[in-house]
């Protein structure tokens, strides 16, 4: 659930870019009412300036991010989820699983590249093995035979690689449609998509229609596999909690 809500690694590049441009120049301070009176437990009397709280994540663009979070929630509700539910209605479960396996297998290319970059021998070997086995015995990735044989998946991306070499998170960003991220991980997403495009194992660059279908299906599949629902946490602090959990989860991923 903490995963970025959806992510097509490729098509969304222009979306991210435009989002980043939008980031410049937006911050609103709270509007103060003339007849406001201090609360019984006021922020001033309890919160200390000299303390960094666990919930504090560096978020200089918070106002923009919150706006984007709301936009994403609406997009999810009115467009994304209805499409996903139509998809699950039409597709038999077995096919859904095969689609997931297919994309997982293709993106082993990114796992492999980043395992190598982080000099992780086990992950590199296992990822290579998985890709070879699943692409052949697993019928072009439709079946995850390797997992059944006990060869584990290693999720590695370029954001993790950067983190592995000590690059900090940078400011928190809520990306359009894809959701929670930060400057480091956004750089990672862009790099991974460049790697994937460079390898271009499906020869997508020569087939524009196929390319669009590929990215659309990938987006639907990812959303389908993510249980997250906006405003489902029942917390008025959902924005803060997701921000914390995303950051913690990425720290865990990098430490692994």
């Amino acid at each position: 659930m903490i995963e970025a809500v959806c992510c097509t690694r490729n098509l969304l590049l222009p979306v991210i870019a435009s989002g980043l441009i939008l980031l410049s120049g937006c911050s609103t301070s709270p509007e103060k009412n003339a007849n406001e009176a201090p609360a019984q437990y006021s922020v001033e009397s309890i919160v200390r300036d000299d303390v960094t709280y666990a919930i504090d994540i560096y978020d200089p663009w918070e106002s923009f991010n919150r706006g984007m979070y709301r936009f994403n929630a609406r997009f999810d509700h009115y467009i994304f989820l209805p499409v996903v539910s139509a998809y699950t209605y039409v597709m038999p479960d077995v096919v859904e699983d095969s689609v997931s396996n297919f994309f997982n297998n293709l993106f082993e290319i990114n796992n492999l590249a980043n395992s190598i970059l982080q000099l992780k021998p086990t992950a590199t070997l296992e990822t290579t093995g998985r890709f070879l086995i699943n692409s052949t015995v697993g019928l072009a990735g439709l079946f995850d035979v390797a997992s059944k044989w006990g060869i584990n998946e290693h999720d590695e991306d370029f954001g993790q690689t950067l983190g592995h070499y000590g690059v900090g998170e940078g400011p928190y960003i809520v990306l359009p449609i894809m959701g929670p991220s930060n400057v480091r991980d956004t750089t990672g997403i862009i790099t991974d998509s460049l790697i994937f495009t460079e390898v271009d194992i499906l020869n997508l660059d020569d087939h524009n229609k196929r390319k669009a279908a590929f990215h659309l299906l990938n987006a639907i599949d990812r959303r389908h596999r993510t249980g997250f629902r906006y405003y489902d946490s029942g917390s008025p602090f959902e924005y803060e909690l997701i921000r914390l959990m995303y950051t913690e989860k990425r720290m865990l991923d990098i430490a692994r």
Partner: protein, 423 residues
């Protein structure tokens, strides 16, 4: 020595309850059971895909919508059978939504048993406070149950054309279990549903006692006291990180926690587990208290007359709200509010009114109500489990272990719940 005494007690109780039949839920420590739940190998076999519909109902069409929480409708889940069948209303526990893991479990169990299911969020859940609570100061079990009743009436109207209902049942876990009984009692006067069966799952006896226990779990188990809340919170996250990195290929779920439990069995720091439960409860009460404050302009955490804007930061309010216990809320918000509303109400009378003791005569005589509970439920004060034995007699089904709702997904428990509603 003490340990042996305790375990022989437990053994004694289990023989009393089970007359020799084994109850093999695998986790003996009630704190661990509460956190871990039921490991996969021990869960009942239930269908994975059931036909759930996300539904919504507007309870107060004229209520003003706040910019910060722009919600008008209450969300609930309907699981519908294609044939005529009984319908069971199911109420979530403190702070939980209609989509919580335990609610999903109940949906699967009851759907498999051939019932329609309507899953409702707890009246302490933000969406309920915003859209369905009459006074938006949650926790008064009588008032909250009246709110639930109104919601259920609207839902019944909404779905009656599409769902063929033969009779109505009601259930709920934790606080939802207690509310189920209060709703049933209200129905004796209103007679809209004429519930045929009511099942309370791990309910508190006294709401006040239970929240005090949960508050204390946090306050007494954080090293250095509650002023170190934030340091502990950070520390806890770090520890999870460590364990997670050592066990590379596990997902972060019940089984993961169970593996750690098996792995560290003798060395588990139960004070830390207790603090974890305390923190999780504190998060629920934080959400509830702040939502109520925003909706009522209570001036408790948010400055009085301050309207939160759509994209305004609330991070500082989170830091403040975290420091307030449910007991503080009870004394400083809840009690003043209801004592104004009901002249003559005292702190003591409010504590009584929000306890099952206030309807004990009804519970004793209502043959249609049963309770399922655990001997070692951590939300009960010492001796409170006997309230259920005394009041419900043979209608109380008490397991020797399971903590608070930890064994709900265990095979025997699921079988019992299904049998209760189908026989």
């Amino acid at each position: 020595m003490k340990r042996y005494v305790i375990s022989s007690f437990a053994l004694l109780f289990s023989t009393l309850c089970w007359s020799g039949n084994g109850y093999d839920y695998p986790i003996d420590n009630p704190l661990a059971a509460t956190v871990i739940g039921t490991p996969k190998a021990y869960t009942a076999e239930l269908p994975n895909d059931i036909p759930r519909s996300d539904m919504k109902v507007v309870v107060f069409p004229d209520r003003e919508v706040k910019k910060f929480i722009p919600r008008k409708a209450l969300n609930y889940t309907l699981v519908r059978q294609k044939h005529a069948a009984p319908l069971v209303f199911s109420i979530a526990g403190t702070g939980a939504s209609h989509r919580s893991a335990k609610m999903r479990l109940l949906e699967k169990a009851f759907y498999q048993a051939g019932l329609h299911v309507v899953s409702l969020p707890s009246p302490t859940y933000a969406n309920f406070i915003v859209t369905a609570s009459a006074n938006q100061v949650p926790g008064h079990i009588v008032q909250d149950s009246a709110d639930l009743y109104k919601v259920m009436e609207l839902i019944e109207e909404q779905i009656s054309d599409n769902v063929d209902v033969t009779e109505f049942y009601i259930t709920g876990y934790s606080l939802g279990g207690a509310q189920a009984a209060f709703v049933a009692k209200l129905d004796e006067e209103r007679k809209v549903f004429n519930f045929k069966k009511v099942l309370m799952i791990n309910p508190p006896v006294s709401l006040f006692n239970s929240v005090s226990i949960l508050d204390r779990m946090l306050e007494e188990n954080i090293p250095g006291g509650v002023n170190n809340f934030d340091a502990f919170f950070k520390d806890l996250m770090k520890e999870f990180t460590k364990v997670y990195t050592e066990l590379e290929n596990l997902d972060f779920n019940d089984d993961f926690l169970y593996r750690i439990y098996e792995y560290e069995h003798e060395e588990i720091n139960y004070s830390r587990v207790a603090a974890t439960i305390g923190i999780s409860f504190r998060m629920s009460s934080t959400n509830m208290i702040f939502t109520s404050d925003v909706m009522t302009n209570g001036g408790y955490i948010l400055p009085k007359n301050h309207e939160l804007q759509k994209t305004e930061s609330t991070t500082d309010y989170f830091k403040v709200a975290n420091r307030i216990s449910f007991t503080d809320y009870f004394n400083e918000r809840f009690y003043p509010f209801f004592s104004k509303l009901t002249p003559g109400a005292t702190r003591k009378s409010l504590i009584h009114d929000t306890s099952l003791n206030s309807i004990v005569d009804y519970l004793r005589s209502a043959e249609k109500i049963a309770v399922v509970h655990n001997e070692d439920d951590i939300i009960l004060a010492p001796g409170e489990i006997d309230f259920f034995r005394d009041t419900f007699q043979s209608r109380a089904h008490i397991y020797p272990k399971g903590g608070h709702c930890g064994n709900m997904a265990y095979k025997d428990n699921v079988d019992y719940m299904i049998n209760y509603f189908t026989n």
